[in-house]
């Protein structure tokens, strides 16, 4: 445990104050404004003289702009200005990609507004600035534009073939990068090829991670106000700090002249972990016009142009002994980048690279990934970012291996997972898992589900030939959270660190302001941070105010993603509080005329050891040092403090998720009968918030399994461009969740927290698919492509195998078992 500001600090954890607030289900401080409609969303902003931006978007997926005439639009009422890419070509630069995963990664650059060529439907081609939202939108109709269509590249497996049309004519292929992690070469495992050559059994599968849309509820919105040569940007973003740095670099506006504010932000899920074209355009236009500019997207624009998530084709092979002991794992991915590399587009699959081995003791592992350009909107972070993909693949293929071996899927997992006594455990991917107990979480989840009864019912239904079959699916997962140790990020070529900052200000009246660099968008930081500080400083929960999301107030920060806030940002708060107490101790000793060493600090009060009763509260110290009439020589008259925490390791939440699924074999309709999960997220600061995070994650993970898919037609049009077509689940589409926790504290931070934001989303998807397959595998079904629509399920049941879904672009199951000496093309009808 080492704070950045003191690299020589001893390798011990700080002493935490006794927890009184931590662990309590405090109701959230944030709620008061949210339930009364008194919230500050970016789109609520109205500034004097404010102008509105509307964006004309390309209707073609790939083409050359041959004609563009905006003169008629300029004549429309209340229009102030109209610009094309050519008008802004000199100053717009390229939107940033902060994660060059390989030294030779090809990045063609990404203009905020297309200059002469478009590469996906929805790309900006012209912009109108007008006095009202409606006037700007109306004027778009008057813009005259023609395109020369170019061949559209949509399918990754075709895109990487020799002779495929290119997305970018500046490149020689559609492959952006080839990323490899080989445990044998890295020295963290044995030789993978040898492991497969020696194996008694190997199982190979091809899985498809469909394209998803984060679909945060608050549409993106940005307002930029110029003032002299200073600019203030309000944006519905997860990352005001990163956005400020990046926007300064892109536009040339000096960083110290740019202030970025994320006011209340209505969800993100990774989707607002981005530097958006419209943010850059609003800055450029505010600079040109000297007026405040606002842009708020429609839902249609959001689904069509905000970055998407997932979209991988996964080829995964597992090698094992006949008794079930796993011997090797081999993964090859095609990852769809879309048309451009956005902020961390290439890094998402690379982040997942280290998690494919999951909780199992594979001695050998090799991972390869090709990042592939297509004429679709770019992919980037979506809740879990790389880890759901890895978890799905490993948890699905463990079930396939169990079937191949004739073993119970849980028995196979037990045989191979890391035992509780083996922590800390260094995996074949080189990660050190710190703590946990997979068996305990599994046992508790089985209890919560009522496993034995459901297995018995499954048997009864099977024997009676019930048209509604029951299946049970497992996901025993871990994830890599608490992003991230800065040195590790550096070794992975990420463009920034992973530290987090906090400062604490003691006000004269004894109230406390906590400034965090981790910017929330629904997670409840204000409440949880207050609980932590209340314990650390011994002040009432109500007396703590948490400030965030404004680079002028919180100057240092790396924002919120990757289940990092509590683990890294919460620890920074603890460290800052520790410094406040250290500084206050000197003042208190002076005022009490005692030696510092004789003071103890409990419950907010400094008292002299052995002299009960006498003492001084930290609030009194705050007032005394505000007056500053009497304080020791050589001490600054302030007890405020700042701290930056850089973790030395990731955290590894884990858990067991079990889904019981009913499948109507006559209609293909699937229904979650019961869902139980036990998660270990380390120390729980607020159980109410933890439970809420798990619920929300489950909803999104289950939605990937059952409902959601971003679909493009053959011309590259998004056909799921509204909430009519893109099915984010309603209340009636989701089951009741039975959730529980085990607690094994993280060893990498003093709070013991592991992170919870992504757990439900990472764990649930394979549990749901495994459950559906368990219900119908006896009917000859080997796989069903996500989402499990009634049609796909019905076809799988009635055709066998994977439902006759043979189009390579539409199928995720051409699996083979090489012990049958089969090859993919000859096992499509595999009816095992």
């Amino acid at each position: 445990m080492t704070a950045v500001e003191d690299p020589a600090a001893p390798d011990t954890l700080v002493d935490l104050a006794p927890a009184k607030e931590v662990g309590q289900a405090r109701r959230r401080k944030e709620d008061a404004r949210l339930i009364t409609g008194k919230t500050q969303w970016t789109d609520n902003m109205v500034l004097p003289g404010m102008l509105h931006l509307a964006v004309l978007r390309s209707p073609v997926a790939h083409g050359r702009i041959t004609h563009l005439d905006v003169s008629a639009a300029k004549e429309r009422p209340n229009v102030v200005a109209v610009y094309t890419g050519a008008d802004l070509a000199e100053e717009q630069g390229s939107l940033p990609c902060a994660w060059p995963v390989t030294p030779d990664m090809v990045n063609p650059g990404h203009p905020s507004i297309a200059v002469d060529r478009v590469n996906h439907v929805g790309e900006a081609v012209a912009i109108v600035v007008a006095r009202s939202r409606t006037a700007a939108a109306d004027a778009l109709e008057a813009i005259d534009i023609d395109y020369e269509p170019l061949p559209v590249v949509l399918d990754m497996e075709q895109a990487v073939q020799e002779g495929s049309p290119l997305v970018h004519d500046s490149t020689t292929s559609n492959t952006s990068y080839h990323f490899v992690f080989d445990a044998g070469e890295a020295g963290t495992g044995a030789d993978t090829e040898q492991a497969f050559a020696d194996a008694e059994v190997t199982v190979s599968r091809r899985f498809v991670q469909q394209r998803l849309i984060p679909a945060f509820m608050e549409p993106r919105s940005v307002v930029v106000q110029p003032s002299g040569d200073n600019y203030t940007m309000w944006s519905s973003t997860q990352i005001p700090h990163i956005l400020r740095v990046m926007a300064a670099m892109v536009t040339g506006i000096p960083e110290h002249k740019l202030r970025v504010i994320a006011p209340d932000v209505g969800g993100g899920f990774g989707g607002k972990l981005q530097v958006n074209p419209e943010e850059i355009l609003c800055l450029l236009l505010a600079r040109r016009l000297g007026k405040p500019i606002k842009w708020t997207e429609t839902r249609g624009e959001s689904l069509m142009t905000a970055h998407h998530g997932r979209d991988q084709v996964q080829f995964i092979d597992v090698a094992a002994d006949r008794d079930g002991t796993v011997r090797g794992l081999r993964v090859r991915l095609l990852a769809d980048m879309g048309a451009y590399l956005r902020l961390i587009t290439p890094g998402v699959p690379a982040l997942g690279a280290f998690m494919f081995p999951g909780i199992y003791k594979f001695p050998a592992y090799r991972f390869e990934c090709d990042g592939v350009f297509t004429n679709k909107v770019p992919t980037d972070a979506y809740r879990g970012a790389g880890r759901p993909e890895a978890t799905f693949a490993i948890e699905r293929i463990m079930d396939e291996l169990a079937v191949e071996l004739g073993m119970d899927p849980l028995e196979l997992r037990r045989k191979n997972w890391i035992g509780a006594e083996e922590f800390p455990f260094t995996t074949v991917a080189g990660l050190e898992y710190d703590s946990g107990d997979y068996a305990q979480a599994t046992d508790e989840a089985l209890q919560l589900l009522g496993y034995d009864e459901l297995r018995a019912e499954q048997q009864r239904r099977r024997e009676s030939g019930d048209p509604v079959q029951l299946g049970i699916g497992f996901s025993t997962f871990t994830e890599m959270c608490g992003l991230a140790p800065s040195r590790v990020l550096g070794s992975l070529a990420f463009g920034a660190g992973g530290w987090e900052s906090a400062s604490i200000r003691m006000l004269p009246t004894g109230k406390v302001e906590v400034v965090t660099g981790s910017t929330p968008h629904g997670q409840g930081h204000e409440t949880a941070w207050s609980q932590i500080v209340a314990d650390q400083l011994g002040v009432p929960f109500e007396d703590v105010e948490v400030l965030h999301g404004d680079t002028a107030i919180s100057s240092r920060g790396l924002d919120t993603y990757g289940s990092r806030s509590l683990v890294v940002g919460g620890t920074a708060v603890v460290k800052a509080a520790e410094k406040v107490v250290q500084k206050a101790r000197k003042i208190a000793a002076h005022l009490l005329e005692a030696s510092e060493d004789d003071l103890e600090f409990t419950g907010g009060k400094f008292s002299v050891r052995g002299t009960p009763g006498a003492g001084i509260n930290i609030q009194e110290v705050a007032l005394a040092i505000f007056a500053a009439h009497d304080y020791p020589e050589g001490v600054e008259p302030s007890i405020d403090a700042e701290a930056t925490f850089d973790p030395e390791n990731f955290s590894f939440p884990h858990g067991t998720h079990i889904c019981a699924m009913e499948v109507d074999t006559e209609t293909g309709f699937v229904k979650i009968r019961k869902y139980a999960c036990v998660d270990d997220v380390g120390t729980i600061v607020n159980p109410l918030i933890v439970e809420g995070q798990v619920h929300g994650g489950l909803a999104q993970g289950i939605a990937q399994a059952l409902y959601e898919e971003a679909i493009y037609d053959a011309e590259g049009n998004l056909t799921t461009g509204s909430f009519v077509d893109y099915l984010i689940p309603a209340a009636s589409d989701l089951p009741h969740f039975d959730t529980g926790n085990t607690v094994h504290a993280a060893t990498s931070n003093p709070l013991g927290a592991k992170g919870v934001g992504e757990a439900g989303c990472i764990a649930s998807t394979p549990a749901v698919v495994n459950a559906a397959l368990d219900a119908v595998r006896h009917l000859g079904v080997t796989d069903i492509r996500m989402p499990l629509t009634p049609e796909r399920v019905w076809r799988a049941i009635h055709s066998g195998g994977d439902g006759g879904d043979r189009d390579p672009g539409l199928s995720n199951a051409q699996g083979v078992t090489s012990s049958e000496a089969a090859v993919a093309s000859s096992t499509e009808g595999d009816q095992r």
Binding site: G23, Q24, A25, R27, E30, D31, A32, R33, L34, I35, T36, G37, K38, T39, W41, D43, N44, R133, T134, F216, M217, E218, P219, D264, V265, G266, G267, R299, G300, H521, G522, Q523, G524, I672, R673, P687, L688, I689, E691, G692, Q693, H695, G696, G697, L698, A699, Q700, S722, F723, V724, I728, A730, A731, S732, D733, L734, H736, F737, T739, G740
Partner: protein, 189 residues
């Protein structure tokens, strides 16, 4: 431009509006009632739900001119005043107590839809709540705590759950809030 006279949250307004102006845009842009938000373009998300003459409507599907002579109630008009607990509507209070919101963007619409639901059905089951609010989308909560909140508010509004609201759900194990879970199996679509 067409003139309309409308009462919103108890105050009278007389305004000229474009015939194409949606109620939600009239509320937000002309009246500054920004508590009501826009979440989609297709009337799917329900974030903009308000009450029009006492009935829940999605204010993106109503033209402002249609509200001439009507009473509109928004999220800003249901509490007794101020943000103190005692002044809140029982449904607002229940969303807070049961952690029925995270980012809070869907919350105004969700609360307005829930109030309407409870008017129709003062004692809904879990599945009746789930079906009753299926026109309102939430991306954060997974809905379970919203269902809990609506049923908790229902009980309070029926006069059955008076007393210290901190007493439920359980302090640590919120999953143990049995009083609102009477049919866990019936909740699926």
């Amino acid at each position: 431009m067409t003139q309309i006279n409308v009462r919103v949250d108890g105050a009278s307004y007389s305004d000229d509006v474009e015939p194409r102006t949606l109620l939600v845009h009239y509320l937000r842009e002309q009246l500054g009632k920004v508590g009501t938000v826009v979440g989609c373009d297709t009337s799917n998300c329900g974030a903009c739900t308000v009450h029009l003459d006492g009935q829940a409507v999605k204010s993106c599907t109503v033209l402002a001119v249609q509200t001439d002579g009507c009473q509109v109630t928004t999220i800003e008009g249901i509490a007794g005043g101020g943000a103190e607990r005692a002044a809140l509507h029982p449904v607002q209070r229940a969303f807070h107590e049961m952690h029925g919101l995270q980012c809070g963007f869907c919350t105004p619409g969700m609360i307005m839809a829930s109030i309407d639901l409870l008017k129709e059905n003062p004692d809904p089951s879990d599945s009746e709540v789930r079906e009753g609010i299926e026109g309102n989308l939430c991306r954060c909560t997974g809905y379970q705590n919203i269902v809990r909140a609506v049923r908790h508010a229902a009980a309070e509004m029926r006069g059955e759950a008076e007393g210290d609201p901190e007493a439920s759900p359980a302090v640590v194990d919120t999953a143990a809030a049995e009083h609102v879970i009477d049919e866990p199996m019936a909740a699926q679509a």
